[in-house]
Subunit: 319 residues, 2 copies
């Protein structure tokens, strides 16, 4: 008996949707809508690096897919299907049940069926690789290089909570169970705005998710687009749970804190009413935080008009 | 400076082909030909499990993509693009140079550009995740469930060499540098028949690659198709390097040895001349080794007509 096949059969072999060929053949097969391109992204999550060894497996199953759906959202692409590879030191059925159930729950919610993957025994910790595939009309895709001078800069959701939760869990901040309770959902159960992302396709110009922190990520748009941006710090949507915390701590979390699976996007000023209406239709908070300017670089202005120094880099995958 | 971006920029950011959007955005984007479905497969390769820690990084870069191209070949799909994720314990520039150059060399040869991926620091050994994407007309895809009673069973290339090389490297066989020299290319530099696989689309019925060993893998076709097969042991294409070895050793390598990134496929008897012509056009060896029958199960007959017992399972990913 090949346990690989047993694991896949037991946890990861729900029937594929009609018209799809899923788990069990050499490849999965699915159609891409006429006039659309295939959009794809992949993330590798490593135990001890991207998640704690004792993380709730249900949260991990959710987040492994969520971080990839966030990339589709940032492209304006509609989720179509996903692949999941797992490398596990041992077969833990409770762990696999919790992980697979929440992975499937989010896949169902996003209309992104799991159609293939790989399982193997690891020699060390858990490694998770997820690939998502979506579809988008190529002329409507939200590319990093598409920001235009004069665009508004927008942010969905709010900022800072995931970073505070991470720092609490890493004991970088003093023990504070109430604050952890109020922030850890943002870290462990992110819900990227994939529907709103699709709605932005053809409306917004550039977009990306804030997985590495606002200052660093918006820098990718500005560099790719050959322009700069001015943001108002007081306009940034700070997570309500951060009220009353030290202002320097909040500022670092808001400007440099990663793991924010929300969008930063730019759009022409003429689209303001439409963007607000689209966000309302998705029950999503959107905030206009600044504008794209010709002068390169990012400047975040405090209430008094001075520029806040951005010396704290975002999350470094190889630090 | 974010070293993740530096690694991607330094080793993995060749320009994407015209009409593609590659490394550097939230998703890669590419077109799928009209009337075609997207075919995708993913493999996770773990140090100490799928490759030795001291493996030649050039061979590893080649094989990481080759095993995935093999899945496209087995589906009859044309390679379109691939994604590569790497989790590395440290940044070794010589290793990355050798790995990336041979990965790209095979990607170029197969017309399968690298358009995205992820890099991260690992807490333990090297982990490689490759996802390939191809395209195939859905009615022509070579599915496991499509074998028909009366079909011929065919094999491309030859069998057994990779298994002998693996057993030599694992010291399961006595030290024999000449034999290792003659067999290790099959293990470390497999070249799956992706062009012939495409040519078989619409011609053959069922197909798969022999990554887990002939007996086990053909069993997947037979089970999915609800039929059986009779193979002639003497008809099986044994790798020339195995001549003169102990016959039991050869038999185990040929019937149960995995890591054979060649195809086993079934096709109507009326297609024999066409298949031979297609193989000749690809300069590929193909061998007719038996036929599909109604009685379930696989029977491999020796020269005297007796059935060879198949008690040795193929490679078990979780053993």
């Amino acid at each position: 008996m090949n346990i690989e096949f047993d694991l896949i059969a037991r946890y990861f072999s729900r029937p594929a949707p009609c018209g799809f060929l899923g788990v069990g053949d050499d490849c999965a097969l699915f159609p891409v809508a006429a006039g659309h391109h295939l959009a794809t992204s992949t993330d590798l999550l490593v135990e001890g690096r991207h998640f704690f060894s004792d993380v709730d497996p249900a949260a991990l199953g959710h987040k492994a897919l969520a971080v990839n759906l966030s990339d589709l959202a940032a492209m304006g692409a509609q989720p179509v299907a996903c692949l999941l590879s797992l490398s596990l030191p041992a077969v833990d059925h409770d762990w696999l049940t919790a992980f697979s159930q929440s992975f499937y729950a989010l896949a169902d919610q996003a209309g992104c069926p799991l159609i293939g993957g790989d399982t193997t025994r690891s020699t060390a910790g858990i490694v998770i690789s997820v690939t998502v595939m979506g579809q988008v009309r190529p002329d409507q895709a939200l590319r990093r290089a598409a920001a235009q001078v004069g665009d508004d800069v927008w942010i969905t959701g709010d900022l800072g909570a995931a970073n505070i939760a991470l720092r609490l869990l890493q004991n970088e901040l003093p023990y504070n169970p109430d604050l952890l309770e109020a922030t850890r959902r943002a870290l462990e159960w992110p819900l990227p705005p994939w529907q709103f992302g699709q709605a932005l396709a053809g409306v917004a110009h550039a977009a990306l998710d804030i997985s590495d922190g606002l200052a660093q990520d918006i820098g990718h748009i500005l560099k790719a687009s050959g322009c700069g941006a001015e943001l108002e710090y007081l306009a940034l949507p700070v997570a309500p749970a951060l009220q009353g915390l030290d202002s320097q701590l909040v500022q670092a979390a808001v400007l440099a804190g990663g793991d924010v699976y929300q969008l930063c996007f730019t759009a022409a000023a003429g689209e303001r009413a439409r963007i607000l209406a689209l966000a309302a239709a998705s029950s999503l908070q959107v905030t206009r935080v600044g504008r794209v300017v010709a002068e390169p670089g990012l400047r975040v202005r405090a209430a008094d008009g001075t520029v806040i120094p951005l010396d704290k880099a975002g999350f470094d995958h190889f630090s």
